[in-house]
């Protein structure tokens, strides 16, 4: 009798748990639907108000796709390098290289047709140095610039702190002058003056201004196609120069090195356990293919991400042609939002996936509203402006990226509001600071300075990546020491 009562109570408890789980699932999915509805409402509502807003909505919906892909595939550039060095797991690096390759494959015909919105960046050792700063920062912060956005969508407030630190660092660093001018070489100052920038920029006051106009701009902005003497907008330039030489060959070699150093041994052991013997080239190729397809979730996300990145360029370019402008500054002016345009009437309008500049812009806008003058520099005043974040196209992309990640996290029951601890908050702020410096030195982050550039044949992309790898290695060395110290203390009490 007692047994029957006990088993009935167990069954009741199990049923109650199932009911709770189902209720929780319905609730989180309703939240996901609500978020999607909100973005749809913003998109439709603004379009009805003025058709120009469709340009911002394109950024918004591509941002949403990026957020969904990043969360679904746990796409993180920090994880790519860090996991390789820290725990010898190449999964994410392989996923990112594949996504870059796919982005490149789809970009090539767009580049060949002359419809690409991509512009190469100057090539020099500054990209490597910037990458080192960024790499250290992303390991310390626990995520790169893009993954911090998607993790914020998962409810991770550490990631939000990283974004705040990264945004603030960039906005302040881009405008720092005064005492910082002491660290500017005289040659940079002279060279910056020769560029004939508008007087409002006051180019001799500002470290980053003189770094950009006096050093970075003096280096050639080259794609692999141009190095080989072919125009980008040609079949040879886009497919042979940028795709084959710039992406396929280096990516294939990188994956081969990763296979030999981090995958081959484990793969052979697993095959041996399963009674299979790996021999000859066909065995190695099977192992290579197994590495590429090891994580389907990351591979699928990479595939969609690559396609979306290339399509965004095409759609944005199409709208620019339709509305007859080359930069969204014109569009914002037409719809009556002329505050914060640069001295050239432009705003940041990359036409493709980008992360860090719009983050610096919203802080720049906030500082300006607080009465701090920050338009006397190249970054804000001459090129990107500081438009209101509510109508900044790139900010729409980032907000929607967070929203897209939240939708997928809610749908998969992975959303959890996480408060930082003092320790994790400290790492977030320090990591965000290093990434902010790296992003401004490298004119972009893991997305803008690496992913997009490599996929479009920009020679500086792999250099930034090389620096990121070096920085990540240093960051892992530091964390290995830190965690070892903390864990040893805990384990001692267990007799280990």
């Amino acid at each position: 009798m007692q047994q029957q009562v006990a088993s009935a109570a167990t069954a009741d408890a199990a049923m109650a748990k199932i009911t709770r789980d189902v209720d929780a699932k319905i609730k989180t999915r309703l939240w996901a639907m609500g978020l999607l509805g909100f973005f749809a409402f913003v998109s439709v509502g603004t379009f009805v108000y003025n058709e120009y807003y469709i340009y911002l909505s394109v950024y918004l919906w591509f941002g949403m796709i990026y957020g969904m892909c990043l969360q679904y595939g746990r796409f993180c550039f920090s994880s790519a390098f860090r996991d390789l060095f820290a725990i010898k797991v190449p999964r994410m690096l392989v996923g990112i290289v594949i996504a870059t390759l796919l982005f490149g494959v789809i970009s090539a015909p767009i580049t060949a047709s002359g419809l690409s919105t991509f512009h190469a960046a100057p090539v020099s050792s500054h990209a490597i140095i910037a990458g080192v700063f960024f790499g250290i920062g992303m390991v310390i912060a626990g995520g790169c610039a893009s993954s911090s956005l998607y993790k914020t969508g998962e409810g991770n407030m550490n990631a939000l702190l990283v974004i705040l630190s990264l945004s603030l660092t960039q906005a302040l660093f881009a405008d720092v002058g005064g005492w910082a001018n002491y660290f500017v070489p005289e040659a940079w100052t002279q060279s910056a003056l020769e560029k004939g920038l508008p007087a409002s920029i006051n180019v001799t006051d500002g470290w980053v201004d003189q770094y950009l106009a006096g050093y970075v701009w003096n280096n050639p902005a080259l794609t692999y196609a141009e190095v080989l003497g072919m125009p980008n907008a040609s079949i040879g330039g886009a497919f042979v120069g940028n795709l084959l030489v710039g992406i396929l060959i280096p990516a294939g070699l990188l994956l081969a090195v990763v296979y030999v150093l981090y995958w081959r041994k484990g793969y052979r052991n697993k095959q041996k356990k399963a009674g299979n013997v790996v021999t000859g080239l066909s065995g190695e190729l099977a192992g290579y293919w197994a590495m590429i397809t090891a994580n389907k979730r990351t591979a699928i996300a990479g595939l969609i991400l690559g396609i979306a990145c290339a399509l965004q360029m095409l759609v944005i370019q199409g709208l620019r042609v339709k509305f007859g402008f080359k930069n969204a500054g014109v569009l914002l002016d037409r719809i009556g939002w002329d505050f914060g345009l640069s001295v050239q009437g432009t705003v940041f309008d990359p036409g493709y996936w980008y992360v860090t500049t719009q983050e610096a812009q919203w802080v720049g806008w906030t500082l300006q509203k607080m009465g701090i003058e920050n338009m006397d520099n190249i970054y804000f005043g001459f090129v990107n402006g500081i438009p209101n974040p509510a109508i900044n196209p790139a900010d729409w992309m980032s907000f929607a990226l967070i929203g897209g990640a939240a939708i997928i996290a809610l749908y998969h029951n992975e959303f959890k509001f996480k408060k930082p601890t003092w320790e994790t908050a400290m790492w977030s702020v320090i990591g965000g600071f290093f990434m902010g410096i790296g992003a401004r030195l490298g004119l972009g982050c893991n997305v803008g300075a690496f992913f997009v550039r490599v996929a479009n044949g920009d020679c500086s992309g792999w250099l930034f990546g090389l620096g990121m790898a070096g920085g990540a290695y240093l960051g892992v060395k530091f964390f290995n020491w830190w965690t070892e110290k903390k864990l040893a203390k805990e384990m001692e009490s267990c007799g280990l």
Binding site: R74, S79, G142, T298, K416, T424, L487, L496
Partner: protein, 83 residues
């Protein structure tokens, strides 16, 4: 809350890295597993979804076994048996 490691039974240990983001959960897990004996179980508690992907790949690569895996409202509880 900080990282916590404790013994929960004979050959069973609990590592709680709730609240930590990458790379802490995976590095702590790797270091803890290195010090356990063959057959020992590590009960891992974490709440950072992206760390899970890395930890799972690491377990597979190292030949260890994930014997239990649950997730509820973003809280992960995994039991890993060392090979």
């Amino acid at each position: 809350m900080g990282m916590k490691f404790e013994k929960t039974g004979e050959g069973r240990y609990r590592l709680n890295v709730n609240g930590y983001v990458c790379p802490h959960p995976q590095i702590y897990t790797k270091k803890a597993l290195e010090k356990l004996g063959s057959g020992d179980i590590l009960e891992l508690f974490f709440d950072n979804p992206s760390s899970g992907e890395s930890i799972e790949a690491m377990i597979e690569n190292d030949g260890n076994e994930l014997v239990e895996k649950t997730v509820e409202s973003g809280q992960f509880e995994w039991h890993i048996q060392k090979a």
